[in-house]
């Protein structure tokens, strides 16, 4: 297993991009070749060394060879059949289905097959294959490993086997693979892979795909392309050299892995290959896993050599390798990890190839082994998880490389550090990436190019983002009466890119080229460089982000706005009262009202507050300061909502404190005996909106709601939850609102600047899709606490409420994005309302809300002038001041696709794609959306492969350095609850998450889709640094460790069964694992360094997120573990989501199809 993994890893690493496919293929080849390996290995070895040093090419070759080997290996297993399979491999496999089982057999067969595979691999070319073979072999460990592997593999198989489906699939694969006879399932798989390569396109999902992948892998690997890939990656990598080597090495490694893994891998590949088939394929995947395990074992063995590359991933394929792994892993992994990891990094995105690389590297070292062990390779077949691009590695690399220096925004088209990296931003003319991030910082000059690449051009804008304390907030520019200087034609605001001409008397707009007179009061002379003399004195000339004080003409009705208001609207129906919610809210509000957002250094908040309670009717409260006691006003005419009072409804907190406190004291008492269970909803919003209208101000409604509004009133809803609709064409209706009433209401709210934040406490279905319409379109937020219980959810809710009330927010906002001529903002995603095609209208916009804007070409851009974005947000701040916040960003333009791919940002891309897909489910069947998503990514990658990656075998998976994580992240998106719901996910959850994601920023989507997993036992209690994260796979969890996983909504603390008692005692205050209560929702406060440190980490995480995360303690093998596993996104998911490895295979296949 380990071997396989390694192999995988190796491949990817070595040839990052190609590596993938190559890997798999190689894997196949590997297996098949295993037999051959020796010879090939030998070759590999050769190459390997080369790799390490100069011989990248060789390495590549070798890698290529690997794949081929891989297949052969599988062949080996079923030797006789294999050969045939090989050719027909892919197809044949199915028939052979049975054979595969005998992994051991397969392995042996593999060798013979090998050669065949090599053929099968075609791309790789024999030689390559040979090389690869060698590599595997090179990774002597493999050989040894492999040798044992057979045995181990079987074992692993069994383990894998456990999952019957997988077994079956395996068998299928295996069959597909070839081997019918071959006992060793893995091998068959491997075989299958092999075949697939050849056949891939043709048919069988699993086998075919698998094979396809494999082939591709092999091809990629095999083919020198590796080098190519290297070349590419290098660019990204920056460390070209090392890359090359690594890549090389990578390939080899991969090759090795493959060889080993082949058998194993194949299956995975197959599974991975066809997403669609995934579910069904699960079985197949298993095989892969099986293989994985075997591989791991092997890999491990082999890895050692290759490890370096894989390092990080070494243990990979946890699931797969599981058992086998363990055995094998034990030794090898360690080495691998380090190695692989390295390679990974070096390689760049493809780190995967890494496997190979490491292998290479190691392989080299291992070479000897190879030579000696060519035989072993057989076992490795599988795509080594460690060899495929690791998000962790990428994150770590970026953090190490870019975290230390400030990011200076002066240069056009700079790609900022990743969102996971802590960096300081110095604004020198472009907006901080905290405000704007783009999918690409280099935009194709023409729409043809853009279409060809399929890379979406989008910017994720968070106009009011909170900056770290060491970065200065945007400067406020006050031009007094005349207001901001703007272009006459396009009305763009003065910014650093405006060109002053004619001695400063005029300026030329950087967006539309129109020349505008400089108003006399703004005139300034230019220096010899054409810059205004006051350049540095004026933020709007020197900075990327700044604010203008708006004049009265920017205000509604030409009147300066009143300070905004917050209205708290509390459901007091039976459920809310009984659960203690009403009392809780009232208690909290008493203190919370002291923390309303303030502007700058103002003494007290200008925000006024109002209170409403409701069930079937609404109760308004007059809390005017002059009253001795609050007055309650009941409005039962919900059909035609109105506000019963004006004066005294919205009050200043300090002035009316006693009355407010008295009111909040009494509300719980008043409704203590209520028996009213029905609620209304739309009238509540109407009431709030009318109140704001009457007070002539903007504001925010905080609605605390518990149930489906079934009382007779406008906006009344019925329960229409129907899980049967899932996976049908009607599934989209679950995301659509029941009635258009709320959309219209939202429109009215926006017109009034009434933002709605909704806190939901449902005990059953309450139709989030409909209730959420208004919050969503008004720029509000939804919080949902299902089955709210005071004890467990109180803290989370209160923290959310506090944060929500306190955070900076703008009201009655209009955002417009202006761009250089040539591109145009065409589509917008997020929580807002649009009444025309250009203006984003937001009743409210807080510091956590993000708007994603997609751009399209409407003309050509020029490389010289680049492309400029200006995002202007007109809003009312919490003091009631009207302001304009301007963010400017300049991007490069390119005529070469390679430039585009070199300047992309995958996290942002994923953010965009997720939002795109999540919006798509409103109107399309989910399956269509998923396919579209996969297809688009495949096109992106294929375009790269075709146009940027230098010549290489078509079977090689080559990913752009910048996008090497695209497959893994994309897989996470595809597996998310919205796009692939599990049985336990409710309709409301899906609707909720759908809306949630729609306004997430890049950092949030990043961690949401690929959760952060930290080994707690590795926490250094004495330092502030966090332990290195690990990849989200069960294989990487150790029984003896505790882990912390966060995804922005939840935090899990996973406790392995074998964790030291001391640690348990320190953290939970109980004596043993068995005493840990899984119902805890906080960690006990214990006075020991470990507990303190862990809690401080959790606190830190909580602080980083806009929502308070629910803490869940998961004990290994406890029933809650299922929930936890859902977040191990590299694994196959319960709901049928593909594992990373499988998906990668599938992607590869897709790409290959596109290329052919």
């Amino acid at each position: 297993m380990s071997v396989n993994q390694q192999a995988h890893a190796g491949l990817p690493y070595g040839q990052p991009q190609p590596g993938y496919q190559g890997y798999q293929q190689s894997g196949y080849g590997g297996q098949q070749m295993s037999g051959v390996h020796h010879s090939q290995y030998g070759a590999y070895n050769g190459p390997l060394p080369g790799y390490q040093q100069p011989a990248p090419p060789q390495g590549y070759f070798s890698s290529l060879g690997f794949p081929s080997k891989g297949s052969p290996v599988s062949l080996n297993s079923d030797t006789p059949t294999l050969a045939p399979n090989f050719i027909g491999t892919l197809r044949a496999p199915p028939t052979s289905g049975a054979p595969p089982p005998t992994s051991g057999a397969s392995v042996p067969a593999g060798h013979p097959v090998y050669s065949q595979f090599g053929q099968g691999d075609v791309q790789n070319g024999v030689a390559t294959s040979a090389v690869q073979m060698q590599r595997p072999s090179a990774s002597q460990p493999f050989i040894p490993g492999t040798a044992p592997a057979p045995i181990s593999q079987p074992a692993t198989f069994r383990q894998y086997g456990p999952s019957p489906t997988s077994a079956q699939q395996l068998t299928n694969h295996m069959a597909g693979m070839q081997i019918g006879s071959s006992t060793s399932a893995p091998l068959p798989a491997g075989l299958g892979y092999g075949p697939p390569t050849s056949v891939p396109p043709a048919s069988g999902n699993f086998t075919v795909t698998g094979s396809g992948l494999y082939t591709s892998y092999s091809s990629s690997q095999g083919p020198p392309p590796v080098t190519m890939t290297h070349g590419l990656p290098p660019t990204s990598l920056s460390q070209g050299l090392s890359l090359a080597q690594p890549a090389f090495s990578g390939p080899p490694l991969s090759a090795q892995h493959r060889p080993q893994a082949p058998g194993f891998l194949p299956p995975p590949c197959s599974t991975g290959i066809e997403p669609s088939s995934y579910p069904s394929a699960t079985g197949a995947p298993r095989p892969s896993t099986m293989q994985g395990s075997q591989l791991s074992g092997q890999a491990l063995t082999g890895l050692p050599t290759s490890q370096p590359n894989h390092v990080s991933s070494p243990p990979p394929h946890p699931s797969m390798s599981g058992p086998a792994m363990t055995g094998l892993q034990g030794p090898p992994p360690p080495t691998h990890p380090s190695q692989s990891g390295y390679q990974m990094q070096q390689n760049g995105s493809f780190g995967q190839v890494r496997g190979p690389q490491p292998n290479y590297g190691s392989a080299y070292p291992g070479t000897p082994n190879y030579g000696s062990q060519p035989a072993p390779p057989p076992p490795p077949k599988r795509l080594d998880p460690d060899s495929i691009p690791s998000p962790i590695q990428v994150i770590e690399d970026d953090r190490n490389n870019r975290g230390s220096e400030p990011f200076i925004t002066g240069v056009r088209g700079q790609v900022p550090p990743l969102v996971t990296t802590n960096f300081l931003v110095k604004d020198q003319g472009n907006a901080s990436p905290r405000y704007i991030r783009c999918t690409s910082y280099n935009i194709p000059c023409t729409s043809d190019m853009a279409k060809q690449s399929q890379v979406p051009l989008a910017a994720v804008i968070k106009p009011l983002a909170t900056l770290p304390t060491d970065e200065a907030p945007p400067y406020l520019v006050d031009h007094g009466e005349p207001g901001p200087i703007r272009c006459n034609r396009c009305k763009a605001y003065m910014c650093p890119f405006m060109q002053f001409i004619e001695g400063g008397r005029r300026f030329q707009c950087c967006f539309c080229s129109c020349v505008t007179e400089v108003p006399p009061h703004y005139f300034q002379h230019l220096d010899h460089t054409g810059k205004r003399v006051d350049f540095y004195d004026r933020p709007e000339l020197s900075l990327g982000s700044y604010e203008f004080l708006a004049t009265v003409s920017y205000c509604k009705n030409n009147k300066f706005p009143n300070p905004p208001a917050f209205i708290f609207m509390i459901d007091v129906s039976y459920n809310a009262v009984k659960s203690g919610l009403v009392r809780l809210i009232c208690e909290e509000l008493k203190s919370l009202l002291d923390y309303l957002p303030r502007e700058g250094n103002m003494e007290e908040s200008a925000i006024r507050v109002g209170f409403v309670t409701y069930n079937k009717v609404l109760h308004f409260y007059n809390v005017k300061s002059s009253l001795a006691q609050p007055q309650m006003m009941v409005v039962s005419d919900v059909a035609d909502m109105f506000v019963p009072l004006l004066d005294g409804f919205l009050v200043n907190v300090n002035e009316s404190r006693t009355v407010i406190v008295s009111l909040l004291d009494q509300i719980p008492e008043m409704f203590a005996d209520t028996r009213e269970t029905e609620t209304v909803f739309a009238p509540v919003i109407q009431a709030g909106m009318e109140a704001l209208k009457a007070a002539e101000c903007a504001g925010k409604l905080f609605i605390f709601h518990t149930s489906l509004p079934i009382a007779e009133a406008p906006g009344k809803l019925k329960n229409r939850d129907d899980r049967k609709l899932i996976n049908t064409d009607k599934e989209k209706t679950l995301f659509q609102p029941q009635t258009s009433f709320y959309s219209n209401l939202a429109k009215d709210c926006v017109a009034q600047g009434c933002c709605v934040d909704l806190f939901l406490f449902p005990n059953q279905y309450l139709d989030v899709a409909t209730l959420g319409v208004v919050p969503y379109q008004t720029g509000g937020t939804i919080y949902k606490y299902a089955y709210f219980q005071l004890e467990t959810d109180q803290e989370r809710f209160l923290n959310d409420l506090r944060k929500d009330v306190q955070k900076e927010v703008g009201f009655d906002a209009v955002m417009r994005v202006r761009t250089s001529t040539g591109i145009r903002a065409t589509d917008f995603f997020g929580a807002f309302y649009m009444s025309n095609t250009t203006d984003v209208e937001l009743a409210g916009l807080d510091c956590d809300k993000t708007i994603t804007v997609e751009f399209r070409h409407d003309d050509k851009l020029s490389e010289d002038s680049g492309a400029l974005l200006q995002c202007a947000l007109l809003y009312t701040n919490c003091a009631g001041q009207r302001r304009l916040r301007i963010h400017n960003l300049s991007l490069n333009c390119c005529t070469q696709l390679a430039d585009l791919y070199r300047n992309c940002e995958t996290d942002t891309l994923i953010n965009f794609l997720a939002k795109f897909a999540y919006r798509g489910v409103l109107n399309n069947p989910v399956k269509t959306v998923r396919d579209t998503l996969i297809n688009q990514c495949a096109q992106i990658l294929a375009c790269y492969r075709k146009n940027c990656a230098s010549p290489s075998s078509a079977g090689q998976l080559i990913l752009p350095e910048c996008m090497k994580l695209l497959p893994v992240y994309l897989n996470c998106v595809l597996k998310s609850d919205v796009l692939q719901p599990g049985a336990e996910v409710t309709t409301d959850d899906r609707a909720y998450i759908r809306q949630l994601v729609s306004s997430m920023d890049v950092a949030e989507t990043n961690v949401f889709f690929y959760p952060r997993l930290l080994p707690l036992t590795k926490v250094d209690v004495d330092s502030d640094t966090l332990p290195a994260a690990i990849r989200n796979s069960e294989e990487r969890l150790s029984k003896g460790d505790m882990y912390l996983l966060e995804n922005g909504l939840n935090i899990f603390v996973w406790v392995g069964v074998n964790v030291q008692q001391g640690l348990i005692q320190n953290l939970f205050g109980v004596s043993s694992f068995n005493y840990i209560s899984s119902t805890l929702n906080t960690l006990p406060v214990l006075e020991n360094p470990f507990s303190k440190r862990v809690r401080s980490i959790i606190d830190m995480f909580q602080a980083q997120r806009s929502r308070y995360m629910k803490l869940i303690i998961v004990k290994q093998e406890d029933k809650l573990e299922m929930l936890f596993k859902h977040f191990l996104v590299e694994d196959k998911s319960m709901s049928g989501g593909a594992s990373y490895v499988d998906f990668l295979c599938h992607m590869h296949k897709e790409i290959r199809q596109l290329l052919s």
């Binding site: 009253l627 001795a628 007055q631 309650m632 109105f642 009072l645 004006l646 409704f671």
Partner: protein, 764 residues
């Protein structure tokens, strides 16, 4: 029997009844020739401090169509213990409790002096009094403050068992829940919304379905709707009192901004509407007397009862607009309030309107509310005037027993002898549509029934009842036969008891052909004048104004022709007997009165004056028609003088009482300016000055509504009130013209001359 005058006076004092004729013509034909119909003014709750209520229930005639009450006119057979109904002649057994009856031992109801008698119904629960305050908040702070004080004052006057509710309105309508601690609660409704009957029914049913025992309901649901609260028990009482007082104290002016050039949005229509139905529904005391006190500071400008738009540039309707059919809202609003008034009347709730504003407030449209239900209508310039304050205080006047001088939910039933039937009633009542043998087909006023509902009664409330003699000419009445009428008034006394007052009167029949002098001598010209005036005003309210005057003139001429002594075509020969002598003069003043003349009066004022005219007793009504003018001078004690411009002299102090105004006219201003009254040696002058003031105060203290008090002198702007009332016998053409009286007014003398001429004319 001395004179008819004494008889009339005695009857009025005892029974509260005055007939136009005290001897009735015995046939239908004759009766119609009398011009003035046989009719009566009846004051159901005529104060009779000497009349102890009887603690048992009346004995009724057993004939189901009769059900007359045993009375002194009945023939009684003491031996057989039988009595004969004097209306239907049914012979009835006395009930067992009357077993001991004998000639020596008669029950009170058989004694002649108890022709009016009051029974107390012992059955049934004691009903609480309900007072619902409906308050307009669209007014100046000063006004509101004054109003709040008045209301708080009134609260202190309420008996502890009374229930109180509060509704405020402006742009919204707010129904306040009383008695919650810590927080004051109210239900708010949109002022523009006219809840359909259907919607109301929904609420209706729900409320009615509640537990049948209202007491439980009351205390059962803690926060259920309970807009009315009993001022009950000491603790609760105090609390609620405090509560309500606080609530009133915190009442704010309607906070909604009123843009320039606009009127505040005021939902009078909806407010009263809600007040009404809420009280009915929520209190679940449907047939209990309830006073709905509406305080209005301006015209309704939105919702179903709106009487004017909110644009200030469009003024509220005038008579001119109405005549030109140019008043957009009048019909709709009137319809709305009529529906409301009818509902309130059927459930026995009284709607009072206290409207204080400088401009009109829509009384024209709302008048039916108090008119149908027997409520008060008070009109003033501001709540911050003594006129309003004292008037309002007087609503809560108590009698010797400490009970409010008001009755609730009354019904008046009339039984008549066979020869006479009831044609209708004019006054603050609505028909109960009860047909019976004594109902005439000929309707006058609210007719077609023998029962009327009078939701609000006070000792002055007076109805005009019109009868028709139905005896045929050829069916002579036996000599000495008497026609009898029985008035049965059931009402809820303010103590909570249900009471029944029975008044039985009888008058002689006379053959008009042979005994016309008898009949003429029995003419009560004061009563007749008022009865005819009511008829005229009633017609004016429902028909065209000028026609009414013509009709009135014709009636007068016919009366003159019938009862005057004259030679044909010789005006100079015309003589009227004493019993008729004042009648033409009343008619003259009636013609000029604001009850029939709308010139110079706004529709609201007309409605206001008519309202009071239609419910006051004879004395007050007469004052309204023909103001009283007293002269004070050194030459003697105060004396009444002619209501004529010739009475205005420079050296005379005049006191004029027009019912609505008390005016003191000081003649030449130098009089007082010289300051003689302050010198001890001119004490008599001071007394002279003081005398009319004292007299005025006396009137001011007793009258409801409190009159506008005017102290003026010659040339004072307020003197116009006097000048508009006096007979313009002198005009500026006269040498001694003191008053500048409108020439348009016909001079009494001219009027009389003309009348004589017409009366004696053979052509007529």
């Amino acid at each position: 029997m001395a004179t008819f005058l004494e008889f009339i006076q005695q009857n009025e004092d005892r029974d509260g009844v005055r007939f136009s004729w005290n001897v009735w013509p015995s046939s239908r034909l004759e009766a119609t020739r009398m011009v003035v119909p046989v009719a009566s003014l009846f004051t159901p709750l005529k104060e009779r401090p000497d009349l102890p209520p009887i603690q048992y229930e009346p004995v009724l005639c057993s004939r189901t169509t009769c059900r007359a009450v045993l009375n002194p006119l009945c023939q009684v057979d003491y031996r057989a213990k039988l009595w004969a109904c004097n209306f239907c002649y049914q012979r009835n057994q006395f009930p067992p409790t009357y077993a001991g009856i004998s000639e020596m031992n008669q029950p009170a109801e058989l004694l002649p002096q108890f022709s009016s008698i009051e029974y107390v119904v012992q059955r049934g629960p004691q009903m609480p009094l309900i007072f619902l305050y409906v308050v307009d908040t669209c007014m100046e702070d000063e006004d509101l403050q004054a109003l709040k004080e008045s209301m708080q004052m009134s609260l202190s006057l309420l008996p502890p068992t009374a229930l109180v509710g509060l509704i405020t309105f402006g742009r919204m309508v707010q129904v306040h829940e009383l008695g919650c601690e810590g927080i004051s609660k109210s239900y708010v409704f949109r002022g523009t919304k006219d809840l359909s009957a259907k919607q109301l029914q929904v609420i209706d049913k729900k409320t009615i379905k509640k537990p049948s025992n209202p007491e439980n309901d009351w205390k059962g649901e803690r926060y259920a709707s309970r807009p009315c609260q009993p001022i009950e028990q000491e603790t609760v009482c105090r609390k609620i009192d405090m509560n309500l007082t606080d609530l009133l104290g915190e009442l704010q002016r309607d906070p909604w901004p009123v843009p320039q050039g606009k009127r505040p949005l005021r939902s009078s229509g909806v407010a009263s509407f809600y007040s009404y139905f809420l009280c009915v529904l929520q209190c679940t005391f449907p047939n209990t007397g309830a006073h709905i006190l509406m305080f209005i500071g301006g015209p309704g400008t939105q919702g179903p009862g709106m009487v004017v738009g909110d644009e200030l540039k469009l003024p509220i309707r005038s008579w001119h607009d109405i005549e030109k059919d140019n008043a957009n809202y009048v019909k709709k609003a009137t319809k709305h309030f009529e529906a409301l008034a009818n509902r309130a009347a059927t459930t026995g709730h009284v709607i009072d309107i206290y409207a204080c504003a400088l401009d009109q407030t829509g009384l024209l449209e709302m008048k039916c509310c108090p008119n149908y239900t027997g409520g008060y209508m008070v009109m003033g310039d501001s709540f911050n005037t003594s006129l309003f304050k004292q008037t309002f205080q007087r609503v809560f006047t108590k009698d010797m027993q400490g009970q409010f001088k008001m009755g609730f939910g009354g019904t008046l039933e009339i039984k008549t002898s066979r020869e006479i039937k009831i044609s209708g009633a004019i006054g603050p009542c609505v028909s109960l549509n009860s047909k019976g043998p004594c109902v005439s087909e000929n309707e006058i006023g609210t007719g077609g029934t023998c029962q009327w509902k009078i939701c609000g009664l006070n000792p002055n409330t007076t109805l005009a009842l019109y009868f028709e003699v139905v005896n045929q000419h050829n069916a002579p009445i036996p000599q000495g036969g008497r026609g009898a009428i029985q008035f049965v008034t059931q009402y809820q006394h303010s103590s909570g008891q249900r009471r029944i007052r029975v008044t039985t009167v009888a008058r002689n029949w006379a053959d008009a052909q042979t005994q016309i002098q008898n009949i003429a001598a029995s003419f009560d010209q004061e009563a007749a004048a008022i009865l005819m005036a009511r008829l005229a005003v009633y017609r004016a309210e429902t028909e065209e104004g000028p026609d009414v005057l013509r009709w009135l003139d014709r009636q007068l001429i016919r009366l003159c022709q019938k009862f005057g002594e004259y030679h044909k075509d010789d005006p100079g020969s015309f003589r009227f007997s004493e019993t008729f002598s004042l009648y033409p003069q009343f008619m003259f003043h009636l013609r000029r009165s604001p009850f029939l003349q709308v010139f110079n009066n706004s529709p609201d004022e007309s409605s206001y004056y008519r309202h009071h005219f239609m419910r006051q007793d004879l004395t007050q009504s007469l004052i309204m028609i023909q103001p009283i003018l007293y002269a004070y001078s050194f030459s003697g004690p105060p004396e009444p003088v002619l209501l004529d411009s010739s009475s205005i002299l420079p050296d005379r102090i005049l006191l004029m009482d027009t019912f609505f105004q008390i005016l003191i006219y000081h003649g030449e201003p130098q009089w007082r300016k010289s300051g003689y009254q302050d010198m001890p040696e001119y004490e008599n002058f001071r007394h002279l000055l003081q005398a009319p003031i004292d007299d005025a105060q006396e009137i001011l203290h007793s009258r409801f509504p409190m009159p506008r008090y005017i102290d003026t002198e010659h040339g004072g702007s307020q003197a116009r009130f006097l000048l508009s009332k006096v007979n313009p016998s002198q005009t500026h053409n006269n040498m001694y013209a003191w008053g500048q009286v409108s020439i348009q007014n016909i001079v009494l003398q001219v009027f009389m001359d003309h009348l004589k001429k017409l009366a004696v004319s053979s052509a007529a």
